[in-house]
C-alpha cells in the first residue's frame, strides 16, 4: 500500500467514469437511435408538437452533437462535455439544461442516501456487535431473526408496505412526495420539518432492510475478534468489559464493514432510486423514471453518468480515509 496504490486507485476512478461516459456515447450509435426523432415521434403520438420548440431543439442538437463531423471528433467533444458536467438541454424540459434539472433533484437523493446509510450502518453494527457479545442482553438476540428476515427483501417492496400501513391506514405520515404540495421549498424551519416528515418512511424502508445486512457482517467479525489473541490479552489485563467491547471488539470488527459498505454502495443506490419511485420522492430516482417515460435521453444519460460518478467518488473517498482507521494500511512509503 504505497503511493503507487494511491495513483492506481485514482486511475481506477477515472477509468470508471470514462467508461460510463463512453458507454453512453457508444450505445445509441450502435443501436442507431436518434434521440430527436424519438422525441418527435413521441410528441406527435400525443398530438403535442409545438413547432417553435422543435426547430430550436433540432438545431441545437445537430450543432451540439456535430453529427456531420467525424466520429472521433464527436467522441472527443462528448467526453469533454461530460467532463465539464455539460449534458446539454433536457429533451423533455427544453430549453432547460440537464445540469439544472439534475441539480434540483440531487440534494434530495444525497440527503436520503447519506442519512439512511449512516443510520443503518450505525444501528446494524451496534446490533451485530451486541448479538455476538456474550455479556449483552438476550433481547438483541431476539431482535436479530426478524431483522434478518427483512434483509432478504428489496427496500422498495418494504416501502410499499410501509406506505400502506403508516401513510394510508394510520395516516401518521404523508402519502409520498418530498414536501407538501403547495409549500414552496425554502430555507425555513417549517419546510425542513415538513421535508423530514416526508423522508421518514423512505428512509425507514432503506434502514429496516439494510440493518440486517450490516448486522450479520458485524456479528461474524465480532465473533472472530473474540477469538483473537489481543482479546485474550486484553482480558488478562483486567480491562473493563465496555473497553473490551468497544476498543478491542468493535474497533477491529468495524473495519471490514466499511470495505463492504463501499462494495455495496452501488446496490444501495440502485435500491434508493426505486424507493424514490415508489414514494414519488423528488430525487434522482423519480427524475430517472420521468426521463424513461419521456424518452428524455440527454437527461437519462446525465443522471446515469452522475450516479456512477458519485458512487465511484464515494468509494474513492472511503478508500482514502480507510488508512486513518486502520494503521496497518498506509499509502505513504514506510520510513
Amino acid at each position: 500500500m504505497t503511493a503507487e496504490y494511491l495513483l492506481r486507485r485514482i486511475g481506477v476512478f477515472f477509468l470508471v467514469i470514462w467508461g460510463a461516459a463512453t458507454f453512453n456515447f457508444i450505445l445509441p450509435r450502435i443501436a442507431d437511435v436518434n434521440p430527436i426523432e424519438e422525441r418527435m415521434s413521441q410528441l406527435a403520438s400525443r398530438g403535442a408538437v409545438t413547432s417553435g420548440n422543435t426547430e430550436a431543439m433540432i438545431k441545437h442538437f445537430e450543432k451540439r452533437f456535430g453529427l456531420d463531423k467525424p466520429l472521433l471528433e464527436q467522441y472527443v467533444r462528448y467526453i469533454w462535455n461530460f467532463a465539464r458536467f455539460d449534458f446539454g438541454f433536457s429533451i423533455a424540459f427544453f430549453p432547460t439544461q440537464v445540469r439544472s434539472v439534475i441539480s434540483q433533484a440531487l440534494p434530495w437523493t444525497l440527503v436520503l442516501v447519506t442519512m439512511s446509510s449512516l443510520i443503518y450502518m450505525f444501528l446494524g453494527m451496534a446490533l451485530g456487535a451486541l448479538v455476538a457479545w456474550p455479556g449483552a442482553s438476550r433481547a438483541f438476540k431476539l431482535l436479530f431473526p426478524p431483522i434478518m428476515a427483512l434483509s432478504a427483501i428489496p427496500y422498495y417492496l418494504v416501502g410499499i408496505a410501509l406506505i400502506h400501513f403508516f401513510a394510508f391506514q394510520l395516516e401518521w405520515f404523508p402519502l409520498g412526495g418530498g414536501y407538501t404540495v403547495g409549500s414552496s421549498p425554502g430555507w425555513d424551519f417549517d419546510f425542513y420539518l415538513d421535508a423530514a416528515k416526508h423522508a421518514i418512511l423512505p428512509a425507514l424502508s432503506i434502514i429496516l432492510v439494510s440493518i440486517g445486512f450490516s448486522a450479520i457482517g458485524m456479528r461474524g467479525m465480532m465473533v472472530t475478534t473474540q477469538g483473537e489473541d489481543y482479546m485474550l490479552l486484553a482480558e488478562a489485563k483486567g480491562a473493563k468489559s465496555w473497553r473490551l467491547f468497544a476498543w478491542y471488539g468493535v474497533r477491529n470488527a468495524m473495519l471490514p464493514q466499511i470495505t463492504s459498505f463501499a462494495l455495496t454502495l452501488g446496490h444501495v443506490v440502485s435500491g434508493v432510486i426505486l424507493v424514490e419511485v415508489v414514494f414519488g420522492y423528488p430525487g434522482i430516482g423519480t427524475m430517472l423514471l420521468q426521463s424513461i417515460r419521456n424518452f428524455d435521453y440527454t437527461l437519462l444519460y446525465g443522471i446515469v453518468y452522475l450516479v456512477i460518478l458519485s458512487i465511484a467518488l464515494a468509494t474513492l473517498i472511503l478508500d482514502l480515509i480507510y488508512p486513518r482507521l486502520d494503521p496497518r494500511i498506509t499509502y505513504a512509503p514506510r520510513s
Binding site: V16, L157, I160, L175, S270, I308
Partner: protein, 323 residues
C-alpha cells in the same frame, strides 16, 4: 441435549469430510444429502423455494391466461367476488380470490403466471453468470497472469458500479421490447463478478493444499484435478454463490420491471408492481393488487436467503460453532 444434536452431527460430519477431502467423487456428490438433515436452515430454504416454484407452475395450469390480460375483467374489484368476462364471444366467469387491478386483470391469475416467470429470469441469468464467473475464476486461480489480472480488475470495478443504471441505459436505448429470456441474457452479463471472486479465491487457496499437489505429482492432468479433486470440494461454495446470484439477478429484473423496462405484455411480478405503482395502488389502499406479488417475492428472496445462510457453515466451517 436434543437441540444440540444437529450441531454435533454437523461438526462430526465436517471433520470426516475434511479428512476425506478429495477421496471420491461419488461420496462428494452424496454428501449434500447427508448434510441436509443436519442443516435445518438449508432444508427450510430449499423446501420454500421448491414450494414457490411448484406453486407457480402447478397453479398456473389452473388459471385462465385470459384473466392476466388487461381489460378482461371489471377493474378495482376487491377480493372474493365472482367476475364475468368474455373471450372470443364466449361468456366465462371465475371466482376472483384476490380481486382485480385498475387495468382489468385478475390479481390471482397475474401472480400465478408471474411467479414462475420471475424465478425463471433469476435462475437463467444466475446460471449463465455463474458459469462465466466459475470458468473465469478457475482459469484465473489456476493460471494467473494477465488474463486473470484483467478479469479480476474488471470484476472489482464492475462490482462498485450500480448495475441497474447500466441496464436502464441499455434497455431505454435499445427500446425494442424484450421477452423474459432476452432480459435474463442481458442481466447475466452483470452477475458473474461475485462468483468469479469467490471461486478464484477458493481455487487459489486450494491449489496450495497438499492433496492437490499430491494429485498433480501423481500425474493427474489439470482437468482431472479440477473435476475430481477441486469441484467436489467447491460444491458448497458454488451452491451458495448460485443462491446469491439468483437473488441478485431477481433483484435486478424486478428493478428493471419496476422502472417500466421489463418484458412487455408479460405478467412478471416486477411488471405487476410497476403497474400497481403507475396506478398509485399503495396510496389508494388497493392492497390486494400489490400484496400478492410483494409477498411472493418476499418468500422467494427469503428462501434464497435461507439457502445461503444454511450453506454458510458448509462453505465457511470455521463459523459453524459461533451460530
Amino acid at each position: 441435549m436434543t437441540t444440540a444434536q444437529p450441531e454435533s452431527q454437523g461438526s462430526m460430519l465436517d471433520t470426516t469430510i475434511e479428512h476425506q477431502e478429495g477421496s471420491g467423487f461419488v461420496r462428494s456428490l452424496l454428501a449434500p444429502f447427508r448434510w441436509m438433515r443436519a442443516y435445518p436452515t438449508l432444508w427450510a430454504g430449499l423446501f420454500l423455494l421448491a414450494f414457490m416454484v411448484l406453486f407457480g407452475i402447478v397453479g398456473s395450469q389452473f388459471v385462465d391466461p385470459e384473466l392476466a390480460r388487461a381489460g378482461t375483467v371489471e377493474i378495482d374489484l376487491s377480493p372474493g367476488q365472482t367476475v364475468e368476462y368474455r373471450v372470443k364471444g364466449e361468456d366465462r366467469s371465475a371466482f376472483s380470490v384476490l380481486g382485480t387491478d385498475s387495468q382489468g386483470r385478475d390479481v390471482w391469475a397475474v401472480t400465478m403466471l408471474g411467479t414462475p416467470l420471475t424465478i425463471y429470469v433469476g435462475f437463467l441469468a444466475a446460471l449463465i453468470g455463474m458459469t462465466i464467473g466459475t470458468v473465469l475464476g478457475f482459469i484465473g486461480g489456476f493460471y494467473g497472469g494477465i488474463v486473470d489480472n484483467f478479469f479480476k480488475s474488471f470484476a472489482d470495478m464492475l462490482i462498485t458500479v450500480p448495475v441497474l443504471m447500466i441496464l436502464v441505459v441499455v434497455a431505454v436505448t435499445l427500446k425494442s421490447s424484450i421477452d423474459v429470456t432476452q432480459q435474463a441474457l442481458i442481466i447475466s452479463a452483470f452477475v458473474w463478478m461475485w462468483p468469479l471472486r469467490t471461486i478464484r479465491a477458493q481455487v487459489l487457496s486450494m491449489r496450495e493444499r497438499a492433496y492437490i499437489s499430491v494429485a498433480q505429482i501423481s500425474g493427474a492432468n489439470t482437468l482431472e484435478v479440477i473435476f475430481l479433486e477441486m469441484l467436489p470440494n467447491l460444491l458448497p461454495f458454488l451452491a451458495a454463490s448460485l443462491a446469491t446470484a439468483v437473488a441478485t439477478a431477481m433483484l435486478t429484473t424486478i428493478g428493471m420491471d419496476a422502472l417500466g423496462l421489463g418484458p412487455q405484455n408479460q405478467p412478471t411480478l416486477g411488471n405487476t408492481i410497476y403497474w400497481a405503482l403507475f396506478y398509485s395502488a399503495p396510496f389508494r389502499g388497493i392492497w390486494w393488487w400489490w400484496t400478492p406479488p410483494v409477498l411472493a417475492l418476499a418468500l422467494v428472496f427469503g428462501s434464497l436467503y435461507l439457502i445461503t445462510a444454511g450453506l454458510d457453515p458448509l462453505a465457511n466451517p470455521r463459523l459453524r460453532r459461533q451460530g
